[in-house]
Symmetry: C2
Subunit: 310 residues, 2 copies
């Protein structure tokens, strides 16, 4: 939904509000965002969230708290970054931190878990009348033919057959949704990476699977029915289809953001090269540094958008 507004210099511009695709929502007397432990009657959502311009999501609660503290310092905001309050403290399903115009939320692992969070997040942004919001998924992934520690900005989020689509079941029927992401944001992120040290970054396709072991061709799960040769053949096919990393949430993230007119980008660091193995054996402190890379990249993007750096 687009409305004409005015910026500080008095120029007209188009404000993009968050567009829920549900004709019933605005007829409801109350909307309980159950998995956030928030609601339209119990919370003043426009007051709490109206100023949000950037939403950063990631699987791990600890990591998304660390990101909230990091962006608090980066934006030089008043108050103590160590004392940020979890807005979803009434539930243990997700955690959520607000830092100025930035919202940092955890989403757990896998498509179903992030999909619940996205439904409730998009409703929250809608109820709060937020405008011009950009969403980022900051994640970890397995690399395909890349050195561990490489950041992949997703060009296309693809499924197990390397197609840019997401299958959604609605009342027992399977439909297919496009997983196109915002090209402009991806290009801006690549530009940001070139301005930073120690942030090897590539644009590539990201394969989204529904499990970590068999679906990703790992031979170290409780169940494995294929040979090393078959595994490498599949990874090679993925590589030839432009896949540079594998994770578990990108297709539904892309599909839902696209349906609701939200600009979105997926930025994942690779923890290992899947051509080299399955197990994550990298020392803990190195993994911690890798996981900060998407955060550093997105923080730089946000600071540029806010005009804090040139």
């Amino acid at each position: 939904m687009a409305t004409v507004s005015h910026n500080r210099m008095g120029n007209k511009y188009i404000e993009q509000t968050v567009h829920v695709k549900n004709p019933y929502l605005d007829t409801m007397e109350e909307d309980i965002l159950y998995h956030f432990s928030l609601g339209t009657k119990t919370h003043n959502l426009p007051d709490m969230f109206g100023e949000i311009k950037f939403v950063c999501v990631g699987g791990s609660a600890t990591r998304m708290k660390a990101f909230a503290q990091f962006i608090h310092l980066e934006l030089n905001l008043p108050g103590n970054a160590e004392e940020l309050e979890d807005i979803c403290k009434g539930t243990d399903r997700y955690c959520m931190y607000k830092v100025g115009p930035v919202l940092s939320i955890s989403h757990g692992m896998g498509v179903p878990s992030i999909s619940i969070m996205l439904h409730e997040l998009i409703k929250l942004l809608h109820h709060a009348q937020c405008c011009d919001v950009v969403l980022f998924r900051l994640g970890t992934s397995g690399g395909v033919g890349l050195a561990p520690g490489t950041v992949v900005v997703t060009e296309k989020a693809v499924d197990y057959s390397f197609l840019p689509q997401f299958e959604q079941v609605i009342l027992g029927k399977v439909i297919t949704r496009s997983t196109e992401l915002d090209e402009g944001v991806a290009q801006d992120l690549l530009q940001c990476s070139s301005e930073l040290q120690n942030l090897p970054t590539v644009l590539g396709n990201t394969m989204c699977t529904h499990d970590f072991y068999e679906g990703q061709g790992r031979q170290d799960g409780a169940v494995c029915s294929f040979s090393q040769e078959e595994k490498l053949e599949y990874l090679q096919k993925a590589y030839e289809a432009g896949v540079r990393n594998i994770e578990m949430e990108s297709t539904v993230f892309a599909a839902m953001c696209r349906m609701c007119d939200l600009k979105a980008s997926v930025i994942c660091v690779t923890l290992l090269d899947r051509f080299e193995g399955d197990q994550i054996t990298t020392p803990h402190d190195v993994l911690v540094e890798y996981q900060q890379r998407p955060q550093v990249l997105v923080a730089h993007f946000i600071k540029k958008r806010l005009g804090l750096i040139a």
Copy 2:
């Protein structure tokens, strides 16, 4: 894998060990259970877990900690139930508590999240040489034609087309696995429920979906494309196929346990009747009491199996 052993009375009986279906696992020098922050070289898994006979899993970390404290009291074990240590404290993906022969683990929301946990749990039980283990999923669910607060012991875990199967993608190909659960354990649980007060319990089919909103026919998500009539028609079809509740993990739980010769049961309480609505509006304290019902039922089952009650 079955081996002949002797019980305390000197009688021969068949011990059922945990059967991984992966020929490569025992050739690995080390197995890092990454999402548990445990490993075969860093931890003595037989010492830590060898005595486990019952594994109880559920979505919420808070709930599974509460269950661990509850079963500690129920089994009258020494030590302070308030001071149980999270065995997975090195990660925030899952939490895990050991209480005598009982392991209580959280698995997050959705098939992918529980599937990662199950791969690593089954490997853990295998490495620890556990025998005769029974698994329980203790969850919450939407009811189909049942009063809220009813406990459903799953007869068949079915997919969105009401079939008792789980679709697994392996190297880009979709295969189908059976989701049969243990009939004996389900019948024993029903018997337990008849011995307890205030535990309305039924045997019924459980539908497992991959999201909470569109896949379950909810009209209160960020996206909804169907009418109230179409929704009720789908729920009615589900009811006629024997579905009594809807949740998000049962099919993969059943399929993986079955593949690895683990007896398993799914016990979920219904928080609402989906014929009556979509939103969970029940007061918090009532929801808390509902969520204790599967715990009370499984605790009774465990105490009977351990010979603590007749």
